[in-house]
Amino acid sequence: MAVLQAPWGSYTLQATASAYENYTAPLTIPSPGEASGTLEANLTLEMHATTLLMRVVDSETGIPIPAKATVTSSEIPYEATVDTPPEGGTQLRITSGRYVIHVVAPGFEPKNVTIDVTGNTYTINISRKLSRVTMSLVDSITGALVPVSITVSGPLYQTLGLGNTTILAASGAAQLVLLQGITYTISITPSNHTTTQEPSRSHLETPQ
């Protein structure tokens, strides 16, 4: 609230406030013969709209990660959830101000960041949740370890360089490093072509 004192006449009223669009309107203060001495005016300011550009990336490699980002504001009632595509960022048209962004992505630690949105691009780094899987490949009849080659495929496995696509387990045992909470396809082929075992293919879901 502000009180101004001015002689009668025509004015241009301007109001500015952080995070709001500038307000400009004509104002006429009537002469003493036309009205009483007090004039009240309510100004409605529009919040300044801007574009929030977000990229969610793997903290180790900087590779974009498909994620779900929930944007909330503590200043105004606002909440929106958007998907960030793997090929790049996503954008959201919002008013300027302070926001909290909650990011979740399968295989990664959830993250909260607080940012002051001013129209820049924000890159959010998220950390991998890794699961180490020790595999042993045994003959179903004898229980003996069988030398095999293991082919792993699944979301981001190759992109993030978690391991070789094909792993030779000459001793019949192998250790895989995988993201948690992801379903991988594991193909197991006996490495010796004269072997007696059948190739095996299965899905492995790592626990959260």
């Binding site: 699961s131 180490r132 899987v133 020790t134 595999m135 042993s136 490949l137 045994v138 003959d139 179903s140 009849i141 004898t142 069988v146 095999v148 197991i188 006996p190 004269t194 007696t196 075992q197 059948e198 095996s200 299965s202 492995l204 790592t206 626990p207």
Partner: protein, 90 residues
């Protein structure tokens, strides 16, 4: 996290023919195939049998006698396998 994957063996169709030292077929001789203490199977004389591929120890049963074949037999693929025994052991 540890994971153990059990690999299945390939089934093959194998016919076992028991012959003596002269190459004559020994009639009524059938073979008992032992892969491990958990898997033993047998094959009737000259008839195809479905067995799991592997290296077997072989016993020949004929005329009330059991002969332990001295060498292991590798059954890797479908086909005919000749088991040569010494007739004096019968």
């Amino acid at each position: 996290m540890s994971l153990q994957v059990a690999l299945s063996r390939i089934p093959v169709e194998a016919t076992f023919i028991v012959v003596d030292g002269n190459g004559e077929m020994v009639k009524d001789a059938y073979v008992v195939l032992k892969l491990s203490q958990y898997y033993t199977t047998s094959a009737e004389p000259s008839k195809p049998a479905y067995v799991l591929a592997g290296r077997y120890s072989v016993q020949v049963v004929c005329k009330g006698s059991i002969i332990l074949y001295p060498a292991p037999v590798d059954v890797r693929e479908s086909g005919v396998y000749r088991i040569v025994i010494n007739p004096s052991m019968l």
